[in-house]
């Protein structure tokens, strides 16, 4: 008995009187551990706002979801409130990310990255630059989601957090103005772009070392350790500038008049990024199909980007986005269904909108003689898809469940399936699964080109160039020509549109809609343009050769919903936090 007690007492004291030891650290551990400091920054990287596929597009006039429990579907149906998770998630994740960045920025100067002072300085510069770039990114998404006119009528941004907080910090602070937020954002962008190289590429000799480090006694190998290709896809100077361009376009937009950012500034920011790629000539010829099997193939060099890509995630071999979006006969769930509204937005092959008699649009053969991007991005009735190029029938008399509304949660609700972002050489059938490489696009050049076109047109008119060698017209011509429209008639419709800023604006917005569809961009574009949010999502119910266009889903957005709501919970808690008007 005594032996038993003795055994108990000696063998298992852990947790009885004192807790079993855990490796407990706090933020101060950054002061001694470089890798740990990087891991704090890592939390901000994890919290980045990017998705691998369409998310909020199903709450626009571009698409609907066939997943009836989809939160964005509910939102578009009228369920959007200040408590709707998907719209308040950004509040949580952007601000939390900023906290990690501030924690990091407050300590980065003292983190022992290297015992060699020169190398240490380079590390500090790079990581500080990354953190500032990421902070600007978070602010951009905060402004996009929450910037707006408050109940007082003032154009507000969000509270600017430039210092880390803890449980004792007074969090009941007022929102800064939108202009103040933009100022802070652009300051972060500019500092980041000064601290960071344009891209993380390896040097091959000491002469290439930038002047600011040349005097620090480091060689090109040291430089490569810090700024070389091993850091590829982290925040770079080019990326930070692209975020600046995105944010200034937002700020210059009609919904944010009073932001202090003019169209010309937005155009200049975009041009800065475009010029990094060699101007208009740098536009990638296959930039509108960067995700396809023919472009990506099995070529997965991790430390290089396709010319179209400014920022991307890592390569992942999977079949998940096809599994989500292929039609049911190809073992998919048919999730994102493009609308008739979007299909109608694709012009005819000759460049004229299908509403224009000159387009030659044939109501009885609506998918022929159209903008090639229609077939590139959308699966229409009778087109082929998948490893065996199977014909997909979306008609009401289809033999398989691919037909419209054949099976809830699997079949299309609009008569269309998604093709963009999917690889045709993937088979999601679990028995014969074929996985292929994909990556998440974060920012690509076409968006920046279109940002320039939009801003330059507003600032200087269709053919005005500001201080740059290309105009909005030039950019749009290049994009339409790349897409393959109007090539036979010198894009007569574009020539017609360049006559006025207004017609050009309409054309630019339409090109933006087509080029950037299903990339989670239109939801906020409609809002910053103060465009019609209520256009009913429509579909095509095809029986034999007869086309019956049907209403699929209303878009029950109120006018005040051009600005998103701050989370209800925080509005209740903090008297100084002003809600956007209407919510």
């Amino acid at each position: 008995m005594a032996a038993g007690l003795l055994m108990v007492s000696t063998a298992s004291c852990d947790d009885l009187f004192d807790p079993a030891i855990e490796n407990i650290r706090d933020a101060n551990a950054m002061d001694t551990e470089a890798k740990y400091a990087d891991a704090i920054l890592g939390s901000a990287y994890i919290l980045m706002p990017y998705s691998s596929g369409p998310v909020n597009d199903v709450a626009t006039d571009d698409a609907v979801s066939n997943d009836l429990s989809n939160a964005w579907l509910t939102m578009a149906g009228g369920g959007w409130t200040s408590q709707t998770g998907v719209s308040t998630d950004n509040w949580r994740d952007r601000n939390a990310s900023i906290q990690f960045l501030n924690l990091f920025l407050e300590r980065v100067d003292n983190v022992p990255f290297s015992t060699t002072p020169g190398i240490n300085q380079m590390f500090v510069d790079r990581l500080k630059g990354e953190a500032l770039g990421l902070r600007a990114l978070n602010m951009y998404y905060l402004l996009q989601n929450y910037g707006g006119k408050g109940t007082s009528g003032e154009l507000l941004g969000v509270p600017i957090w430039q210092e880390s907080y803890d449980a004792t910090t007074d969090m009941n602070v007022a929102r800064n103005t939108f202009a103040e937020c933009m100022e802070a954002l652009l300051k972060d962008v500019n500092e980041a772009s000064q601290l960071l190289p344009t891209d993380f590429v390896d040097l091959s000799n000491n002469n290439q070392i930038p002047a600011k480090y040349a005097g620090l006694g480091v060689d090109f190998m040291d430089y490569n350790r810090v700024f070389g290709s091993t850091t590829w896809t982290r925040m770079s100077g080019r990326i930070a500038e692209a975020i600046g361009a995105q944010a200034s376009l937002l700020a210059a937009s009609p919904a944010f008049q009073g932001s202090g950012v003019e169209w010309s500034e937005a155009a200049d920011y975009a041009a800065r990024v475009i010029d990094r790629a060699g101007g208009l000539a740098g536009m990638a010829p296959d930039g509108h199909k960067w995700y396809t099997a023919e472009v990506i193939g099995n070529n997965t060099i991790s430390t290089a980007n396709h010319d179209e890509i400014i920022w991307r995630g890592g390569y992942e071999e999977n079949s998940s986005i096809e599994g989500d979006n292929f039609p049911p006969s190809l073992y998919g769930k048919g999730r994102v269904n493009p609308t008739q509204n979007l299909v109608d937005a694709f012009p005819a092959l000759n460049g004229y909108p299908i509403s224009d008699p000159r387009s030659g649009y044939d109501k009885n053969d609506p998918y022929s003689n159209r903008d090639p991007r229609l077939d590139l991005y959308i699966v229409t009735n009778g087109s082929t898809l998948g490893v065996n190029n199977a014909i997909v029938e979306t008609s009401t008399d289809a033999a398989s469940t691919d037909g419209i509304n054949k099976e809830s949660g699997r079949s299309t609700r609009t008569g269309y399936y998604l093709r963009k972002l999917l690889r045709n050489d993937v088979n999601p059938n679990s028995t014969n699964e074929v996985k292929k490489y994909h990556y998440t696009k974060r920012i690509r050049y076409t968006e920046i080109f279109l940002a320039y076109a939009e801003a330059a047109n507003e600032a200087w008119g269709p053919t005005g160039k500001g201080t740059h060698p290309y105009s909005a017209y030039d950019v749009i011509k290049a994009i339409r020509s790349r897409a393959g429209i109007g090539t036979a008639n010198g894009d007569a419709y574009l020539e017609e549109c360049k006559a006025s800023k207004e017609t050009m604006r309409t054309l630019i917005r339409n090109e933006r809609r087509l080029e950037l569809c299903f990339e989670n961009i239109r939801f906020w574009d409609l809002r910053r343009w103060q465009a019609d949010l209520k256009e009913t999502a429509r579909g095509a119910s095809i029986t034999g050769t007869s086309f019956n266009y049907i209403d699929v889903e209303p878009r029950n957005f109120a006018d005040y919903m051009i600005y998103g709501p701050l989370p209800y919970g925080d509005i209740l808690k903090f008297s100084n936090l002003e809600q956007n008007a209407g919510w």
Binding site: S12, D15, I24, I46, G78, T81, T396, T401, D551, K573
Partner: protein, 947 residues
Amino acid sequence: MISIYKKYLPAAMLASMMAVAPAVTAQEEADTTATPMVQLAYRQVAADEVLGGAETINIADLMKKNYINDLNGTTLKGYVPGYNGNSLWGSDANDGRLLVLIDGVPRDMNNIPPIEVESVTFLKGAQAVLLYGSRAAEGAVYITTKRGHDGDLKIDAHASTGWAVAKRLPEYLNSASYMTLYNEARVNDGLDPLYSAEDIYNTASGVNPFRYPDVDMYSKDYVRRTFNRTDGDLEISGGNQRARFYTNINYYRYGDYLKVGESKNNYTDRFSVRGNVDVDIVDAVSAYVNAAATFYGSHSAVCDNDKFGNYWSAANTFRPNRVSPFIPISMINPGALAALELVNNSSNLQNGMFPGGTISDPNNIFSEYNFAGDSKFTSRQFQFDAGVNVDLASVTKGLTFNAKFGIDYATSYTTSYNNKYATFVPVWQNFNGKDEIVSISQEGKDEHSGVQNISGSTSRQTINFSAQFDYARRWADVHNFHAMVVAAGWQRTFSGEYHKTSSVNLGFEADYNYDKRYYAEFGLTGVHSSRLAPGHRQGWSPSGTIGWRLSQEEWLKDSEAVNELMISASASKLKTDLYLTDYYMYSANYTNGGWYSWAPGGQAAAYPKRGANENLTFIDRTEFSANIRGDFFNNALSLNASFFTHKLSGLPINNSTKFPTFFSTYYPASSFVPWLNWDANRRTGYDFGITGRKQFGDVYLELGVNATYYKTKATKRDEIHEDAYQNAVGKPVDAIWGYRCLGFFKTDEEAASVDQSALGSAELKAGDLRYEDVNKDGVVDSKDRVYLGRGGWYGDPFTLGVNLTAKYKGFTLFVHCTGSYGAKSYKTGSYYRPAGENKYSSYALDRWTPANANSATLPRLTTTNANNNNRDSDFWLYSRDRFEIAKVQLTYDFPTHLFSGKVVKGISLFLSGDDLVMFGKNRKIMETTVGGSPQYRFYNFGAQVTF
């Protein structure tokens, strides 16, 4: 070892002080009493001297007239006041917070056969659990196993066998009805009907069930209505003055309802042995050893597809018209050679049938249970505990020492064979009125790995020890004094968990009574929790109780009306760490987790799990209770009643009203919010038990009623609401919240006139549900949710147990009924609230249509998610009030004179029924299990033979 010594030092010092203290002239030794003893914490007390807070069921006696197979909340409900089948006095017993002790060691109630049990004591009052420390603060159940007695060898053999008979099966619509109503739902949504009249006709006519399936998951082909359970055990006990033993060998096995594929072989069995030995080593030293081993196993068919879960959950989702699980090969057109070849390559043909599927439904639960393999779950438990008693009268008169030690080991694992299989998708055509399969495609592949997989291996170890000094003396014939010091601790280790569950405490108790009339008891326990910050790890739990035994007063002593009467009152404040679910909750504790990567690299990120709060401390249970207990009219009537009120305060929360939402994120799971002692709950109620007994000639009758009532109130919460009616404070802890339903919209115009869009349905029409705009802001949203009723999460608010015993000659009739009142529940799930692609139950027949707008009990059908209609509202609320006949047993004991001089010394037979009848308005809902194995009545027949 040094730290242990330090912790035990105070105990030893206290004990030695006490040993010296009573220099008063001790005249007599503490007397022993003949009344039954009740097990309290670390000591046994005569039943009529218990000062409230504890109730005992004598299981060994009860089993003579009420044979039960398992100890659990259902089989123990209604036998004693204060226990409602779920918790003691409505305390928060959920998540395993009710401490179950078997012979003093924390163990599982479901791992002890009732036949091995002598008694079960419910320690409901704070004063009763005080000495068990922190982890007993929500009450404890103490199970005492049987022991051997000085006397002849006694052998009891029990055998019983019985049938479980399903009470009520869910009712689903057949294919044709489903298709018709689904079409109606489509039209309601503005879509075209999906199923053609021809398809529905062909399905309804049953012309070809392989092409037009109509699968009834509850058909007798798949689900038996009964299954058998058989129990047997052998008890052997005996001993002499020096050594006594009790052993039990126990086995049971029961089957399953299912008869689909491998599931027809499903069974569960359990074998266990126990040996309890008591030895008097020398006059002053006695010891005991208990050992038990359990082998538990269950065999079942494998379902490797998470979509189905098991047969019962599949039965709730698998629509009848989707797939024909098996299709005759003869249906294939003889000319379709490719199809025939494909099918004949299958290794899973059965009775000339091949497994059917579709691209959308390549698998189903039938194919899974037939071809996916089988698994066996095995669980073993070994339990060992031992103790020693030393009478230290030679050192100090009245002093004894007792030490106990227990060690348990439990393991479990699953072995399985997991196979993959192909199903075949037929393409049908009709030739001259005859359906034929013209081609076939294959889904999946046949794969038999032949490898036995082992999964779900777990192990658990429990170590328990206690040591105590008792000092009991009586002076001057009237001063009765007892004191004890207990040092105790236990610890449980789980496989795969770094931290252990621990409890350690040092207890002191002193009780005094004057002439068995005036009682006073004082207890003080020092609890220790390693979950708190250094400097905050100790807490003191005091308790004081007084009692007045009126029946011992001169003026009552000889009363025939009052044979026994005790009133008592108790106040306590317990410290517990039960709600501190983790260690280091006081520290910020940055952790590594989540992965961030860049093109050539990646690593785990770092983030805090919480903010720091070094002042995090124990949770308090502050309690006042009073008890009255008595026997009257020559013990023909017994009464026992208690009042209690207790408050649990300082419950740890992450106070969300102080910090913005962005202090915490989901991925990575970071948080800067500290834990804070904040929330408080009050529970108040009463219980009572009345038993009357009387002999009428040859007939003996006994009637008992036990009742427990409790109410709960949230007294402190961290909350902000615009409207006061949304505050949780002042509402029950087990509050059900929801919308207040105003019925169906009568017209589309009415539906268009209100704004319920925040609830998430795009278009509302007549036949959808309308809710009250409680705050009158013109919009129905989550701010209009109100308190709707009590959920009874800690047991139904008012529970009743009524039991009747009638004896006539050798016959004993025992009837036990339970009543449960005051709790409400939502009708949940697609069975009651169909939407989208859900299977339709018979409730769908009563959906709203323009024709039956006044009698409908369901909103109009929809193929959408029914966000508006399926919100939790009082439309779906029902009362769980019910009265049940839980047990009826007729026992016949053969007259003892038959056995004089025989080897067999007694035979007893019984016939019983469990869970026989339920009365209640919503009986149908409560008796139907949706998505799970059906509830059953159990009819049992058994015999006991004593040698």
